[in-house]
């Protein structure tokens, strides 16, 4: 027999001013199954909670309804109170008579009637509630960090330094990501390599970090604390154990004219190569697409000169299976393909560069040794035009967002140019200067006031070549007149875009992404580094355009989330999950398809001798997040959702 206790809270005047609580209590007292109904000024207060606990014990209540504020406010409070009184917390439900009743209606009589109906229907529901136990899942204390740029390295180091194991997976042959390509970094102008390479080395040498470079994520299964991840380690054709990184092979490789990715096409590399001189690990890989041996079966020059016999043309991709407790996604970004901007001549004119190419030109380790010269003729440019928002903030070209870093790096470029060429002129076409950040506005001011950056507010409409110059025509919207600049070089501040395959990775991981392919956080403001999938976190520009400080901060935030997870032996999860009735399931797998979390598996039902009888759906409690989409699909009513069962909802509706 149900013995339900109904506790009507006045919430001071908030409820009681509109809802006649005494009348509500009287109405509930006569309702079948209600053992007691009480009212009180503040049930959330200490004495209020105590009175509920006392009533639970005294009347041997089998269910509790607190008619009060929204369950989003105090459901946890009252469930905890019930648990402390020895009642299963899931036998407590909240009737929302404040936010959805007293606060939104003027007429007291009507509000009271509504409050009675709301409370009555929840009494009917709670009579059908079941005792539920939190689901305990073990935690594997090993993190997977995907992406070896600054964000991934920071997250990996923070986790490893706190004692957690880390597997750091990088798609390229070396750690470093985009930060390794940069010249100097705003707003302090310290050399990127100088601050980046020590971190790369530290990560590679860390006893708690296992480094898998030239590797990609193949498959992710499982759930928080218990992921099973398969990583594809691509064939390097160089035995990492034998190779000493002497570089002899790269000297001798005859395939020398391959456009180098690291230098953004401004310099060539060989077919056996390390991406850059400070690569970590500093051991080469063979690019089988361009290697002469792989193309026509002859050459093997590298193999001949290798003093340690490390070259192995037979090598194949390897699949590495990992048990993982938490995943940090730090896959970074790409710069937008500027082909969309035909009017800016990228690709047609060799001296029209992207910002990232300019970084390579300005970098001391770059193809020109840090000298800013024109790719076309090697001359020092006398005038450089920088075009901001080349792609960003232009919905007509498909990118509505601000890439966030371009204002700052363009100011930096103008400064670097002036530092290297004291007579150089720079003109910067911009829409707005967005310099929010510590020391950022001061930095752009410095570019203008000390380093002669000439800002022109307006867009560039046309760019063409004339007498060896790049003619740039635009508008100066502050002066309200057209401007034309004869430039020697043009640098486009191209938009930051997600990695081209980010959506596929999102699907592999089971995390959401936006229309562009940036990964979705669980809550933009309050849960910025978590994803909607428990145990998977986001760091750096894979979530949205970010600069280095933000990426590092977010990476450390991820590490703290991972470490909080690792601080426990077992995890407790809300038991609001689906359950299947195997007796009535026909195995049509509609639920399997509908499930957003791949949480429903196919299970064999066998007889005692092990013969297959039939196959039915089975819910993986660790993966299920409790949305109930499967329940609605199931025609035979076989799957049900604990906490929101068919019986409960039926009773709730029929109680209205």
């Amino acid at each position: 027999m149900a013995k339900i206790g109904v506790f009507v809270c006045h919430c001071g005047e908030n409820i009681a001013a509109k809802v006649d609580c005494t009348k509500l209590v009287a109405a509930m007292e006569g309702h079948p199954g209600v053992a007691i109904a009480h009212e009180y000024k503040y049930f959330c207060s200490e004495p209020g909670q105590e009175s509920i606990k006392k009533a639970v014990a005294e009347y041997g209540l089998t269910g509790v309804i607190v008619a009060a504020c929204s369950p989003r406010m105090h459901e946890a409070t009252f469930r905890t109170a019930c648990a402390e009184a020895g009642l299963n917390p899931y036998l407590c439900e909240i009737a929302n008579i404040r936010e959805q009743c007293s606060w939104v209606h003027n007429d007291g009589e009507q509000a009271t009637r509504k409050a009675i109906e709301i409370t009555r229907s929840l009494v009917e529901k709670v009579k059908r509630n079941n005792e539920l136990q939190p689901i305990e899942v073990p935690v594997t204390r090993r993190a997977l960090v995907i992406g070896g740029g600054i964000a991934g390295i920071q997250a990996a180091l923070d986790i490893a330094n706190a004692g957690g194991e880390v597997v750091l997976v990088e798609r390229e042959a070396s750690l470093g990501g985009h930060m390794a390509q940069l010249s100097e970094t705003f707003p302090t102008l310290d050399c990127s390599q100088c601050i980046m390479t020590p971190r790369m080395v530290e990560a590679a040498r860390h006893p708690k970090i296992r480094l898998l470079t030239y590797s990609e994520i193949e498959k992710v299964e499982g759930f928080i604390g218990n992921f099973n991840v398969t990583v594809r380690q691509k064939a390097r054709f160089v035995d990492m154990n034998l190779c000493t990184g002497c570089g002899e092979c790269m000297q001798k490789c005859p395939a020398k004219k391959i456009s180098g990715e690291f230098d953004c096409g401004l310099a060539n590399r060989t077919a056996i190569y390390t991406p850059f001189a400070q690569a970590v690990p500093n051991k080469p890989v063979i690019d089988s697409e361009h290697c002469i041996f792989f193309k026509n079966g002859k050459c093997k020059a590298c193999q001949r000169v290798c003093p340690t016999d490390a070259i192995n043309f037979e090598m194949e991709d390897e699949l590495v299976e990992l048990e993982i407790g938490a995943i940090v996604v730090a896959t970074g970004f790409q710069v937008q393909n500027t082909a969309l901007y035909g009017e800016y001549g990228y690709g047609r004119y060799p001296d029209v560069l992207t910002g990232l190419q300019f970084e390579r030109l300005a970098s001391a380790s770059g193809p020109t040794g840090g000298k800013i010269t024109r790719p076309s003729d090697g001359k020092e440019p006398e005038t450089i035009v920088f075009i901001q928002c080349a792609g960003s903030r232009d919905p007509s070209k498909g990118i509505a967002y601000c890439s966030k870093i371009c204002c700052m790096y363009t100011a930096k470029h103008a400064m670097l140019y002036r530092h290297k060429n004291h007579d150089g002129n720079s003109r910067i076409f911009y829409m707005d200067i967005r310099a929010a950040g510590k020391g950022y506005d001061e930095f752009t001011r410095r570019a203008i006031e000390e380093d002669g950056a000439g800002y022109v507010r307006g867009r560039v409409s046309k760019l063409w070549q004339e007498n060896g110059k790049l003619m740039v025509r635009g508008a100066d919207t502050l002066l309200g007149r057209p401007v034309e600049v004869a430039a020697d070089m043009v640098v486009l501040a191209t938009a930051m875009v997600p990695q081209p395959d980010s959506k596929e990775l999102g699907k592999t991981l089971g995390i959401g992404y936006d229309e562009y392919g940036f990964f979705n956080e669980a809550h933009l403001k309050l849960r910025p580094v978590e994803t909607a999938t428990a145990g998977i976190f986001l760091a750096g520009a894979c979530q949205s355009p970010k600069d280095i400080p933000d990426s590092v901060a977010q990476a450390s935030a991820c590490a703290s989330k991972v470490l909080a997870l690792f601080s426990r032996d077992k995890l407790e999860r809300e038991p609001v999950i689906a359950q299947n009735n195997e007796a009535t399931c026909s195995g049509c797998w509609g639920c399997v398809l509908a499930c957003p979390y791949n949480a429903i598996e196919k299970k064999d039902l066998t007889d005692r001798s092990g013969n297959l009888i039939r196959r039915v759906a089975s819910v993986n409690a660790g993966l299920c997040q409790g949305c109930g989409t499967c329940v609605t699909f199931c025609r035979s009513n076989s799957i049900d959702l604990a906490g929101f069962t068919e019986k409960q909802i039926f009773a709730e509706v029929m109680g209205l």
């Binding site: 026909s586 195995g587 398809l593 019986k647």
Partner: protein, 276 residues
């Protein structure tokens, strides 16, 4: 050789060589135009098979008799194109493997019965694709058009009258090749979503739920309307669902055996004009 003879000898051959253990086909019924399903396991019995323009029942559902396909042996079945679509859906919903089914396909044009080339479910994709286009172009049933022209109150009254006759015999369910749930929702009494009494409200609920459960799965074979002892035009409800999934989601039920169930899949740009 008549088509009936042709198919009898084909059946004889299949049973004789042992490539199928059973042929499900049509036999004579209690009236001149009534056909009843027959289940033949011996080559000597194939003379009992009838194939003429009265063979309109969709036999696909008989394949689901519990345990019938469990021994992995093959079964041949007489199927109209809509029957093949039903077979595709049963395969898509993992209720059988088409590899086990030999299709004896035929179509009826007017009063003429024509053979269809092919033996596996997948062999009939061309005619199914053709029927999809026809279905798209074809206006709905005459009565359905009339209903759409009525006011909601008139439509409600129409269905109230129709459903008031329902006696909840569940013949529609028994005849439907898509009604194979181990437990029908109406038989679940915890909770009792569908009123089982045969008052009009309960009848309305039952028929709405059945039509909804058939959305995107009904091949419009007509078994249900044919089986209904009180002549409720059930095909109108199911046809309306087919119109909807076809126009809204370009889903033609049973187009192939890889087809995802229309209500267990989605596209982000599905139409939503009715959502506020």
């Amino acid at each position: 050789m008549s088509i009936q003879e042709q198919y009898r000898s084909r059946a004889k051959e299949l049973l004789g060589e042992g490539s199928v253990k059973m042929v499900i086909g049509y036999g004579v019924g209690t009236t001149a135009t009534r056909r009843r399903p027959i289940f033949i396991t011996s080559p000597d019995e194939t003379d009992r098979l009838v194939l003429d323009a009265s063979c309109r029942t969709n036999l696909a559902g008989y394949l689901l008799r519990e345990g019938l396909l469990a021994d992995q042996k093959s079964i041949a079945v007489f199927l109209l194109p809509d029957g093949v679509r039903a077979l595709n859906i049963l395969a898509a919903e993992s209720q059988l493997a088409t590899a086990q089914i030999v299709v004896l396909g035929f179509e009826i044009k007017g009063e003429e019965v024509k053979p269809l080339e092919g033996t596996a479910a997948g062999d009939f994709s061309a005619i199914i694709a053709e029927r999809k286009e026809q279905r798209k172009a074809q206006p709905s049933h005459e009565m359905a058009v009339k209903l759409e022209e009525m006011t909601p109150a008139e439509r409600f009254a129409f269905w109230e009258k129709e459903f008031s006759r329902c006696i909840k015999c569940y013949a529609c369910r028994a005849a439907c090749p898509m009604c194979w749930c181990r437990r029908c929702v109406v038989d679940n009494n915890q909770p009792q979503w569908v009123n089982t009494s045969s008052h009009t409200l309960g009848n309305l609920e039952w028929n709405l739920v059945r039509a909804f459960h058939l959305a995107g799965r009904c091949v419009e074979c007509g078994n249900c309307s044919e089986a209904c002892p009180v002549n409720i035009p059930l095909h109108l409800l199911n046809g309306r669902m087919t119109d909807e999934v076809l126009t809204a989601f370009d889903h033609y039920p049973g187009a192939d055996e890889q087809q995802e169930p229309v209500l267990a899949s989605f596209r982000k740009d599905d139409p939503e004009t009715f959502i506020l």
